[in-house]
Symmetry: C2
């Protein structure tokens, strides 16, 4: 039970697409992540994917359209929906997924779970 | 699957302690709420309680201490832990709870679920 300052957590690392777990909630990881450039197309079959932009601008490509998020905007990609997050400039995100979800949709290529 | 602008949703209402549901995520309600003054002491026995301050300052009283949150800071009250949120000035929060959770911990006194 600690207060989590998201900016302080984001200042602890520089890597892109390497989420850091900052808390837990009902079996989910609360994560901050820095995004720049395109990620990989992937699907989470057993969890929705929560994105809240803290700074920058995020595009989430879906197979039939794309959505653009600015700071203070959130989007939930439902379980089973293929998506590809992308950002032209470095963008900071609060990400929530069920604990143990591989960020790439594939345990073989996923970033390790790192708690900060 | 819509982009949710939290400030736009908050502009739709003025009531305090009356959460508005702005989205859904893995069986949870994503809510915005305006807080001013003290709420009631209550406990959620079957869900953690996620608070992220968007503007203002929130104090969450626990029975053994209090925590203070500024914008960009989050706190999770674990299930079963009695708490009382309070704010001196109007404060805006992103709140996440399992769908159907009474905001007061008691269905008889809870605010109605309102989707905006």
């Amino acid at each position: 039970m600690r207060v989590v300052n998201l900016a302080q957590k984001l200042a602890l690392f520089t890597e892109h697409f390497q989420p850091r777990t900052v808390g837990e909630f009902n079996g989910h990881d609360l994560m901050v992540v820095k995004v720049k450039g395109p990620f990989v197309w992937h699907t989470h079959h057993d969890t929705d994917d929560f994105f809240l932009v803290l700074s920058g601008h995020l595009t989430i490509h879906l197979r039939d359209r794309s959505v653009s998020l600015s700071p203070g905007e959130l989007f939930v990609v439902p379980a089973g929906v293929e998506h590809c997050p992308s950002a032209e400039e470095e963008t900071h995100i609060l990400l929530i997924e069920r604990r143990g979800t591989p960020n790439t949709g594939d345990a073989a290529t996923a970033a390790a779970r790192v708690v900060v």
